[in-house]
């Protein structure tokens, strides 16, 4: 069984941000991160952009409708 990542996360938050876990819902919210971690894991190796780093604002201007 994989170790529960929640207690180490709470300790890291306390260490880096000085913020204590405020309630049980917050603890459950951290557990919800496991879903996000899986999404990120699935993305690894699938994205390769040659124009990184890039400006989002420049992309907004560049991607305008040509005829608008």
């Amino acid at each position: 069984m994989k170790p529960d990542p929640i207690p180490p996360s709470m300790e890291a938050i306390r260490l880096w941000s000085g913020v204590e876990c405020p309630n049980e819902a917050a603890r459950l919210g951290l557990a919800d991160h496991i879903g996000l971690l899986k999404e990120l894991e699935a993305l690894r190796g699938t994205l390769a952009f040659e124009d990184e780093p890039s400006s989002f604002e420049a992309a907004l201007r560049a991607e305008q409708e040509k005829e608008a």
Binding site: V19, P22, A26, S54, A68
Partner: protein
């Protein structure tokens, strides 16, 4: 002329300009409706009754003297309580800022003042604009005017509920993950967020520097067009605001959909969708097709990455903005907010930076996938039927977490992409609550989404319906 509360914002403005109705009559009618019905809805935080009547009297006097009125002359409005007006309390829906008095006035409020709109006060909202449902532990939950006990959508809860209840004609909301489009959808009104950077955020409470947007909730796409023209454009007080010219959006409302191509992504937006929502969405596509649009269902593989990165940016930025209060005053937040903010702290910096740095490339990729041959992307704005306040209440039961978070699944990606996106009513579910159609276009193509939404509203009447209170 229709009953005063049935007028749209543009109809009300034009009626005042013609002299068919006075601004005072409009304000008095709004005040009477609020007095009669807001006890059930709870959309208002502060009502500036005397000030509203004074502003209306000044508009009527100016008109009588033959002076030209602004494009929103004499139209009563109220705004989400996070738009600062110097000297007036702006609670941001929170206990922490219950007595906060800003020293500056938001640029968007100054622009609305200059247009002749009447500011009647401030509206209920999610605490610090941080939830998609309309819960507020400090000022009381805002209730859906269509059915008590149901969500209004958030975070601009009072803006959506008040427009639906016909308490006023226009309201500012803000949208970081759907906070304009969700209350618009769930309350059965029209709401638009412009392209990221399109509208100034000076004097507006921040939630996420990268994803916050200012925009209106109104009855019709035409209302949204006039409203957006007034508030859009570069602002020297907001260095992030775009310098692109602001067109006359109302002039673009031709009602014609011939030659318009609509793309419907098949991934993501329909995951776990309720049948009644899908049916209403398909019927909306049929209505657009009958008006001349072509509909194409296609694949957008970039959506999975977009959805993952979207969640990270707003969580990390929200955590940064609230860090001091989370250390010193965590107990002064509602449970659902402190728990959401807490979730932002463990996000590694490199992933936040990755999410930001890939925003431009992913925007390019999404445009290539969905909008190379198509003008509009259409999706349901909310995948499911409107939930009740009880079944999404994290403060009452932490187990409601996943249902609460799911509410904004379909709106969030467009904040990451920064695209102009509108929600318009497109039906009702089996419990009599509204369903919304979401339309997005390329950057700075607000005119395109407004024109398509307006054309849709010319052949449907969902936007004209309002609840009996």
């Amino acid at each position: 002329m229709s009953a005063l509360h049935e007028l749209s914002m543009t109809e009300a403005a034009d009626a005042v300009a013609r002299g068919d109705v006075t601004a005072t009559a409009l304000v008095e009618n709004c005040l009477a409706r609020i007095a009669a019905h807001d006890g059930k809805v709870n959309s208002v935080i502060r009502l500036d009754r005397d000030s509203a009547l004074e502003q209306a009297a000044a508009v009527d006097k100016a008109r009588k003297a033959g002076k030209a009125l602004g494009p929103l002359g004499g139209v009563p409005m109220m705004h989400k309580d996070m738009y600062y007006r110097a000297g007036k309390v702006s609670t941001c829906g929170s206990k922490i800022r219950r007595d906060f008095v800003p020293k500056v006035t938001a640029t968007v409020l100054e622009k609305l003042d200059a247009s002749g709109a009447i500011d009647m006060g401030t509206l209920n909202m999610a605490e610090f604009a941080q939830n998609p449902t309309g819960h507020n532990a400090h000022f009381g939950h805002c209730h859906n005017p269509w059915q008590h006990g149901y969500c209004t959508g958030g975070s601009s809860s009072g803006s959506g509920a008040g427009i639906a209840a016909r308490f006023f004609y226009g309201a500012l909301g803000s949208d970081t993950g759907g906070s304009i489009r969700l209350p618009a959808t769930i309350c059965g009104v029209t709401g638009i967020k412009g392209t990221q950077t399109r509208v100034s955020r000076a004097g507006v409470m921040p939630l996420s520097f990268s994803a916050d947007n200012v925009g209106p909730l109104v009855q019709t796409a035409r209302d949204a067009a006039r409203f957006m023209r007034i508030i859009s454009g570069h602002d020297p007080r907001d260095a992030t605001s775009a310098r692109e010219a602001v067109p006359d959006y109302e002039a673009a409302l031709t009602g014609d959909l011939r030659g318009i191509s609509v793309a419907v992504p098949q991934e993501y937006f329909f995951d776990g969708a309720d049948d009644v929502v899908v049916k209403a969405f398909d019927a909306a596509l049929d209505a657009m097709r009958e008006r001349g649009a072509t509909i194409t269902r296609l694949s957008c593989p970039s959506l999975r990455a977009i959805a993952a990165y979207t969640a990270m940016i707003s969580r990390a930025e929200g955590a940064a903005i609230h860090a001091e209060w989370m250390r010193e005053r965590a107990a002064d937040y509602s449970i659902h907010l402190s728990s959401r903010l807490y979730g932002g702290y463990p996000i590694p910096a490199h992933l936040y930076i990755e999410a930001l740095s890939r925003r431009g490339p992913l925007l390019r990729q999404f445009c290539a996938e969905a909008m190379t041959r198509h003008h509009i992307v259409a999706t349901p704005a909310l995948r499911t039927r409107v939930p009740t306040l009880a079944e999404t209440d994290i403060d009452a039961d932490a187990a409601n977490w996943s249902r609460f978070m799911a509410v904004s699944a379909n709106t969030r990606p467009f904040n990451y992409l920064g695209l102009p996106t509108i929600s318009v009513p497109c039906g009702f579910d089996d419990r009599g609550l509204p369903i919304g159609l979401q339309l997005a276009a390329r950057p700075f193509a607000e005119a395109r989404v407004l024109a398509v939404a307006d054309a849709f509203q010319r052949v449907t009447d969902w936007h004209k319906r309002y609840p009996s209170l």
